[in-house]
Amino acid sequence: MKLELNLVDYLVILTYFIFVIGIGYVLKKKMKTSNDFLMSGRSIPMWVASLAFISANLGAQEVLGMAASGAKYGLYTTHFYWLGAALAMVFLGIFMMPFYYGSKARSVPEYLALRYDEKTRGFNAITFAIMTIFSSGISLYALAILLQAMLGWNFNSSIMVSSVIVLAYTYLGGLTSAVYNEVLQFFLIVLGIAPLVYLGLHHVGGWEGLKANVAPELMHVWKGMGSDKTNPMGTNYGSLIFGLGFVLAFGYWCTDFLVVQRAMVTKHINDAQMTPIYASIPKIFMPIIVILPGIIALALMKTDPSYTIPLAKGGGYDYNMTLPSLLQHFYPNGLLGVGLTALIASFMSGMAGNVTAFNTVFTFDIYQSYIKKDAPDNHYLKVGKVVTVVGIIASIATAYLAKSFDNIMDFLQLVFGFINAPLFATFFLGMFWKKATANGAFYGLISGTAAAAATHGLTIAEGKGGWLAHMLHIDPLFTFSSSMGQNFNIASVAFIVCFLVTWFISLFTKKREESALVGLVYSLTERQKTGHFVWYKNPVIVGSLVVIVTIIFNIIFF
């Protein structure tokens, strides 16, 4: 599929590029210390931080991937928002943010150093740094592939132009520039795709027309979850609620520095708490923008013979092209430029978010901790800037690696999943159990990661996994109905193993003095009094309202 752009479309794209670089240029003069460059001087207004918090997650994999999942799994995809995001974001705001912010840690790995020890921090910092570079590279690769497919643009040129633009605004304005651009990108993505939802719904006969033209089993959220054989996601209540709703959701939203960083750079602890909670409000409505187009595409294939989801080379539908194909079908020139710019913005948002999280963790948690401890601040500012350039170059290299070895990227993403899955157990025990020890946490993390790998190696789903069973010349221990179901179970096993090993080793290893854990552990920290806050600044009240609305959505679409 090729899109035919005209001058107005190109002017829209050019305007966007000028604005994102312009934001970086204007902010350049404010970047005087490493804290300004890597932590925004902890001065980001709450409304900006909240939208950046949600936008940092609104990368291309989200925008294209959720439309694809909408076409594949229908309304069940909303679980990634209503079950797999909102509750965890509220939990982060109410319970965990006081420790991240109150401990004065500059990063998530630094919190681990304060709570446990340097080796746990080192493990988390190094794996996180590698993960962010690969995620950034994958965003870059996917953008270049999309521009090649949609516009016929050269792969190398797309990589270079995108990288230079992201480098320009992150190098000039640091984290502040990335955060400000994420807010612009948020509005562009929402307002750029909203007309598509309106046009699509209008075309298929509104909500009733949509329901009439989509398989009924795709228009529910919970129906058929009693067994993994009776719903399109191929999973069940247990693995969905525990695997996605608890382990993966809390593991990502509460411990991934890429998103947590957006709340940590606000002015006050109350702002930091309210950031993820306010972000959860647009988050629960995001399915309208990112999932509904996929479902509309299904209905459109029945009502409009001129539309189909593009076919994949190997047969079947290429669901990842659902959103671009809808843009092509509905948008005239002008609006087409806006829609395309929204897609480009989502890729850049993902890449910049990863690069700015990478430079902070590398500078503070690797360079300052292990390479040069007591240098003047100006030195760390320079290092932060150099690391930003290195991060972009490494992302480019990763994008070319992805082009050459598709399987390597799949493998690495899988390995990173193994590392991330048990991390929430480490944080959960660290924050809520004062007897958790450094050795318990470290070996718990290693064991959880190994358990995740072993579960993947001994089970199989849609032809994936089972590599360990193959090596051992035995049959896989279990066959899952879908890869998604397998992933939820891998995460559950990793969490449980990490939790139990951390608990068990902590019983027999040396605990830290309680005085050293004040401000880091729930039971040893004075509760923040929220009674005097006006209701909309009270994390418990707003968080409870979000949870109630989320439950109502689940009931309505049950």
Binding site: V8, T15, K30, Y180
Partner: protein, 61 residues
């Protein structure tokens, strides 16, 4: 920082005002889809003006 260096509401407001002008131009020069370009252009214009106005109201306070 926002007040000292860069008010994001002004930036977002200006961005959407410029994009709305481009969409309104497109509604005149594009044969198909002029109506949706016009409606979206006017919506973006309203959003841009609101964002811009919000920054001014805040400063007056």
């Amino acid at each position: 920082m926002e007040n000292n260096s860069l008010d994001l509401r002004i930036v977002i407001g200006l961005f959407f005002i410029i994009i709305s002008i481009l969409l309104l131009i497109a509604s005149f020069v594009t044969a198909n889809g002029s109506e949706i370009n016009r409606i979206t252009g006017l919506t973006f214009l309203a959003f841009g003006i609101i964002m811009y106005a919000l920054s001014k109201i805040r400063k007056m306070k």
